[in-house]
Amino acid sequence: MIIGAGIVGNCLAGHLTRLGWTDLVLLDKGPLPNPGGSTGHASNFIFPTDHNKEMALLTLESQRQYVDHGMNNTCGGIEVARTEERMEEFNRRMTSAKAWGIEASLLSPAEVKELVPFLDDSVILGGYYTPSVSVVDSLQTGTLMREEAVAGGCRVFANTEVLDIETEGGAVSAVVTDRGRIECQHVAIACGVWSPRIAAMAGATIPLTPAVHQMADVGPIDILQQSGKEVAYPIVRDMDTFCYERQSSGSMEVGSYAHRPIFHHPDEIPSNEESALSPTELPFTADDFDPQMEQALELMGEILDTAEIRYAINGLLSLTPDAMPVLGECVEVRNLWSAAAVWIKEGPGIAQLVAEWMTHGYPHLCDPHTSDISRFYPHERTEHHIRARCAEHFNKTYGIVHPREQWASERGMRRSPFYAREEALGAVFFDARGWERPQWYTSNEALFADYPQANTERPHEWDARWWSPIINAEHLAMRDRVGMVDLTAFNEFDIEGPGAMSALQYIVVNNVDVPVGRSIYTPLLTPHGGFRGDLTILRLAPDHYRVITGAFDGGRDQYWFRKYLPTDGSVTFTDRSQSLCTIGLWGPKAAAVLAKIASPTALHTGATVDVSQAAFPYGTCQDLLIDGIPCTLFRISYVGENGWEIYTRMEHGLRLWDTIAAAGQEFGIVPVGMGVYAVTGRIEKGYRLMGAELESEYDPVEAGLARPKVKSADFLGKQAYLAARAAAEAEGPAATLCTLRITDHASASGILRYPTGGNEPICTVDGQRIVDAKGRVSRVTTAGAAPSLGCYLLMAYLPPQYAVEGTELRVMYMNELYPVEVARVGSQPLFDPDDTRMKS
């Protein structure tokens, strides 16, 4: 059952049909072909360049599908700049265009005017031109896909309202409409702005809000009428005023993302009958649009001055808290799928992706990591949060958003017990899905006296934004002495019961049948053998495992475990993330600090704790007391130093922090932020991160995470994994994850530049993008300083001909090429390659 016959629902019906689904029903509350949702009033243009890989790939795939249907009208598009900052952003867009293989060029104001003669080139500084920008017919494309589905057996019901979604045993069972009840095994919600309302009928959440995008159609305009075409001139995006001008036959559509955020509630959208135009074309609030009109007149006064405002709407579209779509199976109800918060430009591609997901258990088109509905934590699913975040990012629709940009709203939502201490130490907090995590501590500025080499400036403001050289100093102090890191944002899931081991064997790749007290670092695979997760599991007792995973993947991982754990009562799942806090204690002096404060849980007279590697080996865990606080210690490291992750109950946290800080004082202990943990310490060790290096498009062989042997037990993705291993054995992997070193940071203008790590393409020496045999482009997955190595590192997958240590290549950054050298092929760390420090 697919609910909603807009671009997404229609294309989903078509793609499911192509994948072999025959017993399909597509329904919509409104009439066909335009049921009155956002598709019906969309401006229908596609600007393909996006800094986000997932969105770029989905947009390009969608555009390809519009072409296949003969519904893609290529007109070109120009983003124009009124500020120097925007001109710099265009260099970044040129770089992303290079990454995704999109033809693009920078234009002078005069060149812009050549293409758009009615534009006043005196108000702009330049343009970013993409010849492949197009206008598509989303209604007709939807109609064609729907007809394809009907030919394959899909039944279509227009003017049919959904009244309820019934569930049984936690899964969907039927949809009740005003024309009857239909039993179904799967329900896909493709209802755009109404999606939360429909999901709520089943007890599920789809976190989005209907929001207004204002648009006015003005005309008639002679020069446009004379063109005799729907779109004869390139679409202009006036980026610094957040508005666009798009020809629509004889008139011009002026659209805005600059007005105040205007939100509606999904339950308070008029019906078709109650709407003068359509439910998603609400009455225009002219006052909100006036400033945009003035700006439009500045740019195109020549033609817009006397053009009449003939049609103007407050059009509704869907916004989500992080501006990405909401896709996949709802976490609350099995077989209830969300295909929501999707715009025209990515609709057909996303429909294919969701169809693949429903069919194969995970999409093949690309990793839906940043669109996955299970990414949201409970507080992120509330209307309060959705509106606050959407209000913040709405005006950034055309904004310049830094890869490390931090949210200003909804901060302080989750705080570790150490927060007060961290604040006193001058922590600069970054948001991690609600958690406040210190990125660095300004109190550590004093470390520059001991580590003057750390104090490297980044001369370009963009490279230095949301960054501090203090991170380097914390890094060196940790490597030199000892550091303590707040890791409370970790998620801990306890999986217990007689069926725990066999259940986990099926979900994860590596063998979980290890002695109690040992750990398992393992990928989770998709059915087709790509990365679905990457985490660590502790075996705390024969029937008790604890899964530890990061803040950014906690929601996704929880969903995955709960989906695949048996429901026969043999296993229980407990989310302990809210009851446990964690401190990482790492560095050459970590053992000395711990020895001072740790004692056995069972106190015998004179009992002491032996924290040597012999008594407490790397990769194992033990329960100990620290100053009387019951703790679980796990000897492991993500930063390449000897030490522990120390877990205790939330209420003991502050005492634990103070105890460690006091004990560490004589060893020069420093608080260390995530700048070290997640970037510098990690990249020196070549550690991979889910969502960066590890994505469903890559497998463990390519990521350098394949173990010598594969366990005998069956597990998710095993067949594909075995096939990938066999193929790699025979002909080598199509790409291998490598670490590269920038050998010259100087830009053409002589400024030293430091790539931020936002999909910058790795190029050949002559500047050609590199694409592997599977069509994947080589791009930067992580970038960061390596203070202990005295260089700046990048991680990227490279095809075999380039995955050779010493190979000279280029990285494109801000539209310039910088020389890089392949420093490491595979997972062996550049720093302390044999892991001597961690295991000593």
Partner: protein, 255 residues
């Protein structure tokens, strides 16, 4: 010449109109607001009259503070001055409305001289009382014609054409006069972007109404039952042609 055009803020027509639970008002939750269509034509007629004959056009409305939106709209298509006779937004019957407008017009005329022509819409889009223009004319002692589809200014008089079932009535009214304009008299222009921005700068004169209760009271509003229409399928494809021809003959399109 001086032209006054009177307009009313009404829920934008075109959608199903819901009534509030107490039955005393239109539920405007989903509705935009507009000027009644007949009055949009009256505004256009006023603008055209001063374009042809010179002078100024003034727009006046009686309504809540939000009705400023409607007088600014008139300003955005070429009206020069705007007056808002501000009420608390409650329902005013035609008598009460007309008295307040007549008093406001008298004040305006005392300050700026008489209006040669005062234009109304034939009737409002919401209550459709067909009364206010006539009542204002009577209160001011001026001739009035409703249903105007053509207005021409002559020497001291205004010539008004009003179609009837079998022809056109032509009236000559001595100025100052009042005319009720009917939709179709012209095609109202849309505001230009420039006009919209200029309208923001127009000063809206806000005056308190002279409030003399009328004799009509709103008891309750009902949504009329929609007349059901039956669709008869004459056939499909070329085979339907004879039935279509028969029908066209039946209704007199073909002979």
């Amino acid at each position: 010449m001086r032209v006054l055009v009177c307009v009313k803020r009404v829920p934008a027509p075109g959608a199903k109109i819901n009534v509030t639970a107490d039955g005393l008002a239109v539920d405007t939750a989903f509705l935009g607001f507009a000027t009644s269509p007949h009055e949009e034509c009256a505004v256009e007629a006023a603008v055209q009259l001063v374009e042809q004959h010179g002078g100024t056009a003034t727009v006046l409305t009686l309504g809540p503070a939000e009705a400023e939106e409607q007088v600014r709209y008139a300003a955005s298509v070429g009206v020069h001055d705007a007056v808002l006779v501000r009420t608390d937004g409650s329902d005013w019957d035609p008598q009460r409305t007309a008295r307040a407008i007549a008093a406001a017009v008298a004040d305006l005329e005392a300050q700026g001289g008489p209006f040669d022509v005062i234009l109304f819409g034939n009737e409002s889009a919401d209550s459709g009382g067909f009364q206010v223009g006539i009542r204002v004319a009577r209160a001011l002692g001026r001739p009035v014609v409703n249903g105007a589809k053509r207005i021409e200014i002559g020497d001291g008089s205004v010539r008004v054409e009003r179609p009837t079932d079998d022809g056109v009535d032509v009236y000559a009214l001595a100025m100052p006069a009042v005319v009720g304009v009917k939709e179709g008299i012209n095609l109202p222009r849309y505001p230009t972007m420039k006009g919209r921005l200029a309208s923001k700068k127009v000063t809206v004169t806000v005056v308190d109404p002279v409030d003399q209760p009328g004799g009509q009271r709103l008891v309750s509003l009902h949504t009329p039952v929609e007349a059901a229409s039956a669709t008869r399928i004459l056939g499909e494809g070329p085979g339907a042609a004879p039935a279509v021809v028969d029908l066209l003959i039946e209704i007199g399109v073909l002979q």
